[in-house]
Each structure stands twice: as structure tokens, then as C-alpha cells.
Symmetry: C2
Subunit: 349 residues, 2 copies
């Protein structure tokens, strides 16, 4: 079968790789219907994270169960499934606390499973899925084609934006600022609205992203960054910072901007993978009683509730996809996201 392999900065190739098969009794094999490129895939693409040797990449996909191992009880061939960006058994103590990204049997796409066996990346024609019972979530029925983009966001960006909003304690009556206008930031806007926040300020300099932010529930747009952007946020909020700030980028600058935009006693919820030495400024946090929470989003924990709202039409996060390409054009998908020509690019095997 064909799948993406990253060889180094700017070097994404679609190559012939071995067909996956059931290797452990808890495995399933899924035929990928749609996959996509993540903002965090751009860190190795840009060389911010080193690629020591060629490796499989991609961690967001939906598809149809092709085959299941003998221990799999909750899935059957032919079901449409959503794969969260982290594998988990959904039964260990950490999963029961809703922190599936710390699962005792957890693993990552493109990494190794409990037995040290290679796990496929998500950008390919098929994927072997270890701990399939815990990892995959099946839809009640085969979805409409039009719903596939939104279902695909439940793999990562919608759940991640939701995690930022939960970590920042977005809620009715609270003011929200979202730093980052990528797919996660936009989903953070949508999640904040879904959680009842009325005042939602999106920080964005791009007209297309601003428009989508507004459609997702942003009440205000701030185009400036850094100190100027923070000053504009405070002007909109009666001189104070926001109750809840979602940090959806992961750089030192974006984190500082998020902290600066938070009122004393408020919360930063961050989900951007930290890239580039962004230690937190404890003296500023201490003086202002600004809390910082979040991290790698346990999207599996949120999947059922977000799936129900998606299928009910209450949220339509799939609108973040503004480009769709065949898998063979994965290199162009990465380039389009890297150059910010696309908010989020879908790949169709």
C-alpha cells in the first residue's frame, strides 16, 4: 500500500510500504477514508523537530474496519470509525480519569506498540490499530459523505480545541481569547461557544480565518500580536484581560501573549505542542494568579460527546478543511499548510 514518509525538513514522500495485518489479538486493520495534516506535523517538516531517519507520519484519520483480531469485542468489520491521535485502552486508571494520552497501554501513530512492533502513520491507505477496542470510536451508522470532514476533526483538532477551552475554563459569562488561528484555534472558538462563552475574541491576521472564526462564534477579532494585541484585548474587556485564554500555537511568543492577555485570577488553557524553549514565567504567573493548564489533548475522552453534537448538526468543525487532495499529493498538502495557503488539508487515499 501507499503511505507518507518524512525524510527530513520539507521532504514528504508517498511511498510503497508493507500492507498492514493483524499482529496482535487486540489489533484492527482500518481502511482509511480520509486523513489530514496537523499543525504539529509541520514541526518536523520545518526542521524544528529533527527527523533522524525516514519515518511514517500522520496521526489523524477516519475509516472503515477491514479486519479485527481475536480479542477485539466492540468493533466489527464494516464499521465506520474515528481514530484519536493517541492510542489508549480506555480502561486504565489514567483513562478513567479522562487522561487517555497518559494511558498505561498508550502509544502513538508512527511509533511502537506495547510489544515494540511498528505502528503505521495515519496518512496511508490502511492502518494497523493496536488496542483497537479502546482507541477507535465507531459511529452509530455509516455517516453521510458530507459529515466526514467534521468527523475527521474529532481525531484531533476539534478535541484539542475543546481541551484548551476546558483547561481555560471557558463557560457561560466568561470572556475568552483565542491565540492562534490555525484549525485548533478555530476549533477552540467553536468549543468555547459550545461551552457557553458569550464574548470570544479571536486573534488573527488572515481574512479567511477571521471569517471562519466569526462563523464559529467569535464576537471580536484582534489583528495585532504581542503587546499591541494584548492592549487591544484589554481595551475590548474594560481594561482587564480575559477570564479564559486558549493558547493554540506552542511558541514562546504565543504563550507569552496568552499569559499577558489573561486577567489576574484567570486561566490559560494551552494545547500547542511546546516548540522552542517556552519555559513558563513563574514570577509573572505568581504575581497575577494566572493558572496554566492543558497539554497534549486526551481527545478520546471527549469523543463521544463531540461525536453526538457533530452528528446532531450542533457543531460543524469540518469547515476548517479548505483544501482536499489525493494522498499522492501529500507533499503539496504539507506545503500548502506550511505556507498558510490552507487552514487544514484533507488527504483522500
Amino acid at each position: 500500500m501507499r503511505a507518507t514518509v518524512i525524510h527530513g525538513p520539507g521532504d514528504i514522500r508517498v511511498e510503497e510500504v508493507p500492507d498492514p495485518e493483524i499482529r496482535l489479538p487486540g489489533d484492527a486493520v482500518v481502511k482509511v477514508v480520509a486523513a489530514c495534516v496537523c499543525g504539529s506535523d509541520l514541526w518536523p517538516y520545518r526542521g524544528v523537530i529533527e527527523t533522524a531517519s525516514p519515518r511514517r507520519i500522520g496521526h489523524e484519520f477516519v475509516g472503515v474496519v477491514e479486519e479485527v483480531g481475536s480479542d477485539v469485542t466492540s468493533l466489527r468489520t464494516g464499521q465506520f470509525v474515528i481514530a484519536p491521535f493517541a492510542l489508549s485502552d480506555n480502561t486504565c486508571a489514567h483513562c478513567r480519569y479522562g487522561v487517555h494520552t497518559s494511558c498505561a497501554s498508550g502509544a502513538w501513530w508512527g511509533g511502537e506498540d506495547e510489544k515494540g512492533l511498528q505502528i503505521d502513520g495515519g496518512q496511508g491507505e490502511y492502518v494497523r490499530v493496536p488496542v483497537a477496542d479502546g482507541t477507535l470510536v465507531a459511529t452509530p451508522e455509516t455517516p453521510e459523505v458530507a459529515d466526514i470532514p467534521s468527523l475527521l476533526t474529532l481525531s484531533d483538532v476539534m478535541g484539542t480545541g475543546h481541551h484548551a477551552a476546558i483547561a481555560a475554563a471557558a463557560a457561560p459569562g466568561r470572556s475568552v481569547v483565542v491565540v492562534g488561528d490555525g484549525a485548533v484555534g478555530l476549533c477552540g472558538v467553536l468549543a468555547s461557544r459550545r461551552l457557553g462563552a458569550e464574548r470570544i475574541i479571536a486573534m488573527s491576521r488572515h481574512a479567511d480565518r477571521q471569517a471562519l472564526a466569526r462563523e464559529f462564534g467569535a464576537t471580536d477579532i484582534v489583528e495585532k500580536r504581542g503587546d499591541e494585541g494584548v492592549a487591544q484585548v484589554k481595551e475590548l474587556l474594560g481594561g482587564l484581560g480575559a477570564d479564559a485564554v486558549l493558547e493554540c500555537v506552542g511558541t514562546k511568543e504565543s504563550m507569552q501573549q496568552a499569559i499577558d492577555a489573561t486577567r489576574p485570577g484567570g486561566r490559560v488553557g494551552y494545547v500547542g505542542v511546546p516548540a522552542g524553549g517556552s519555559e513558563l514565567p513563574i514570577e509573572q504567573l505568581f504575581s497575577n494568579n494566572v493558572s496554566v493548564g492543558g497539554g497534549v489533548a486526551p481527545v478520546r475522552a471527549y469523543l463521544e460527546e463531540l461525536l453526538a453534537d457533530t452528528l446532531a448538526g450542533a457543531i460543524d468543525p469540518g469547515r476548517v478543511f479548505d483544501l482536499e487532495l489525493p494522498l499522492d499529493e501529500a507533499a503539496e498538502a504539507y506545503a500548502a499548510m506550511d505556507q498558510r495557503r490552507s487552514i487544514k488539508t484533507m488527504l483522500r487515499p
Copy 2:
């Protein structure tokens, strides 16, 4: 009158200083009944924080209103009052959010008021109190002498321990670890019990402090520090870290110990004044979804509820005082706390 002045590391003197008087219409003058030495007073005493020139020190006291300015409406001469360690108007937006330490009219004992006038330290015979209506909390009646130590803790350590417990989200059914066995840590144990936590692990190497921690509600004691201490905590908690960890010291090592003792998805509530470059390790926090909240405790926000419980006898935080000295022996009070011969030392003018 007489009051403490710090001249430099290890150099605390009780000196004759000008008698305070009403200088602004919102002022009160309070005759100090009891004051005390804070763990954070030890940072300049130890030279960790520089003392550029001699200055008044101390920020915890209770006393009796001697005189009020013409704008003061909620206080009258003769009332017994508790002074939080930060001054606040209790009316601005930050105070309404319960973050009195960020008050728009806020100030600090030993610092300057809104008009740039010197504010007294808390360790003296009398204190001029700006923004007195907002800052001071009067007891319903003149308290029993036996209640004075507990009331004095509401100036700082009990409210600060409570803030740590709130920031860490200590609650029924949650496991708590307290890092630091000073007065704040011990009050953090008491606050966690008051908030309903059932499993409370105090980290302490001193028999007297362990005993008080147990009386305050600690169910377990861990004597080791660092990695060994964390391993013992996890052993007590079925291999996981704690849901809620209170960091009540303020060093890089204690913060790291607190973070390491927190389970994925759990919270660190920190109130130790950061001393010595303790930036937060964002990659560890991100990977484990550990939140960090807290800061300089807005004890004014908690004063009414903690006062009610103290007067009702539900909590007895004054037991942290194990040494009482006349004000003139302030130098010995500092030395006793510095050398950990005393958990908390009261000064009587």
C-alpha cells in the same frame, strides 16, 4: 513607637520610629495586639532577596482600631480587626473577582500607598492602614484571648494554605499531597481537610511538624524528599501521583517535587513565593496535562468564611504558633524561624 526594621541579611532591629497618624481620609490607625514572622520574611533575612537600604518589615497582624479617617464607614474605634497581608479596596474589578492581591488601589505593608506615602510594616506597636474599609475585617465581638493566634493566621498563613488547596482543587474524593511543612503547608493540610479531601499526604522530616500535620488532618506522612519522596507518594496512591498537590515552599526543587508528585491530569496549587529562578518545565507539564495555578494568595477574599469557621471552632489554625516573644525580641523570632526551631513565631508588642 517601636517597630522592626531590617538592615540586611540576619540583621533585624527593633527601633524607635514615628508614631503613625491618619494621613488620608480612608486611613485607620490600629494598635497591634499580635504580629508574627512569615516564611517570606526570611528571604530578605537570608539574603535571597536584597535589602538595598533599611526598611520596615512584617505583614501579618491583628489589633484594635485606634482611630479612623473621615471617609472610613465600616470601622469604628475599639473594634478588633484582622489585617490581610495585602491592602485592597474590596470594590474594584479584581477584588470582585476575588483577586484582592491585584487590587487597583492595592498596596503592601512596608511599601507605599496610592499617594506615595510610606506604609508601616506589620511588626510594630501601631500601624497606619490605608484603604482601611476594604483592607481590614472586624470580628463581630472582641475575641477571647485564646482565639487570637488563630485569628492572626487569617492574616496570611491560613488564607494562603487555603488558596493553595483551592488552586489545586482539593475536594471530597481527591488525594492531596502537601509539599512544605512550614506554617503555610500545615495550614494547607487543614484547608484540604476542611474542603473534604480524605487522603492527605504531608511531606515532612520533622517530628513536631508531622504531629501537627496529623492533627490537622494528614492521613500519611512521607519523610523523603525529591525522587525518593515522590516514589513513596506514588506507592501510597496505587502507583499514581496525587490529584492535588500543594506547593508551599517556593524553591525550584520543591516545585519540581510537587509537579513530579502530581498524577497526569492533576493540579499543582502553589503559594510559595518563587525564590531562585524556578521557571516551570513546560514539556513535562504538557506531556502529563499537569496544571499549575495559584500565586500570591488573595487572603482577603477568603477572610469572612475562614473567620466564621475559626470563631465556630471548626478550625484551629493558631496551633502553628509554637513560640511567642515580645516585640523587642524580634531578632530572636527571626532566628528561631530561620533555624527551624519554631514553626511560626508570634510577636506581642
